[in-house]
Subunit: 162 residues, 2 copies
C-alpha cells in the first residue's frame, strides 16, 4: 500500500505491537529481518504492519508463537488448503477448552471451601483445612505458563509439548 518507510516506533504505534516485541519477533525468526537505514535503524513499510497486526490478533486469541508461525506461513501461502488452518484453530480451541475446564474446577473447589468459611475473626477455617487435607478434585501438579493474561499458578495434567 504505502511505500513510506517507518521507523520501529511508528510501526509499533500503528500495529499495536511494542517495539520491544517487534525486535524480539525478529530475533526469534517469527518475522523476517527488517531492512536497515544507513545508520542501522530498522525500516518498515505498510506490508510489515499487516503482518504485525496479524500476529497481534493471533496472540490476542491465545495462539502461541509456534502456532502463529504456522498460521503466518499458511497466510502467506496462496495455495493453502483451508482445512489446515481450520485444524490449527480447532486444536487451539480444544486447548483453550481444556484450560477453561481446569480453571473452572479450581474455581468450583475454592468456592465450595469458601462457602463454609465464616470469614470473621474466628480462626477456624475450612479453606485452610481443605488445603491441608487434600480435598481437591484432581489437578496434581502445577505446570508452565503461556502468554495470556499473566497467570498465577496453573496446574496441568498434560506435560506441554513445547
Amino acid at each position: 500500500m504505502d511505500g513510506i518507510p517507518m521507523n520501529i516506533g511508528e510501526v509499533a504505534r500503528v500495529s499495536g505491537v511494542s517495539a520491544k516485541m517487534i525486535r524480539h519477533y525478529e530475533a526469534i525468526g517469527l518475522v523476517p529481518r527488517a531492512r536497515r537505514s544507513g545508520s542501522g535503524y530498522r525500516t518498515y513499510a505498510g506490508n510489515d504492519v499487516h503482518t504485525l497486526r496479524f500476529i497481534r490478533q493471533a496472540r490476542g486469541l491465545g495462539f502461541s508463537i509456534k502456532q502463529i508461525e504456522a498460521l503466518l506461513s499458511l497466510w502467506r501461502d496462496q495455495r493453502r488448503p483451508s482445512s489446515k488452518v481450520k485444524a490449527l484453530a480447532l486444536a487451539h480451541i480444544e486447548e483453550l477448552e481444556a484450560r477453561i475446564l481446569e480453571m473452572q474446577a479450581m474455581k468450583r473447589t475454592l468456592q465450595q471451601l469458601a462457602a463454609h468459611c465464616h470469614g470473621d475473626e474466628r480462626p477456624d477455617c475450612p479453606i485452610l483445612d481443605g488445603l491441608a487435607s487434600g480435598a481437591n478434585a484432581s489437578s496434581p501438579h502445577a505446570v508452565a505458563g503461556h502468554p495470556m493474561s499473566h497467570d498465577h499458578a496453573r496446574t496441568s495434567t498434560k506435560p506441554r509439548r513445547h
Copy 2:
C-alpha cells in the same frame, strides 16, 4: 507425628512435590531451610510433609507462590481471623474467573471464525481473514502466565502486579 527422618526423595514421594521443587521452595524462602545430616543431606520429618502437601494443594488450586506464602503464614498462625483466609480465596476466585472469561472470549471468537471456514482444499479462509483484519472482541495484547495448566498465549487486560 513420626520422628523418622526422611531424605528429600522420600518426602518428595510422600508429599507429591518433586525434590527439585522442594529445593526451589527452600531457596526462595517458601519453606524453612531443612536440617542437614552430617554429610549435607537435607533431613525432613512428618511435619514438613504436611507443609509440602499444603503447598501442592494450593498450587493445584492455582494459587501463586506469593499467595501461598500468605496462606502458609495464616495457616501457621493460630490466631488468624478466617476473614483473611477467605479474602485471599475470594480474590483468587476472581482472578480465575477473569482468566476464564478471557479464554472463553477467545474460544468464542475462534469458534465463530472456524464455523465459516470450509475446511477443505480451497485456500479461502475466514480464519486467516479474521486474523488479518482484526475482527476480535477486545483482548489487545498478550500478557504473562500464571501457574495453571501451562498456558499457551494468554491475553490480559490487567498488567499483573507481580
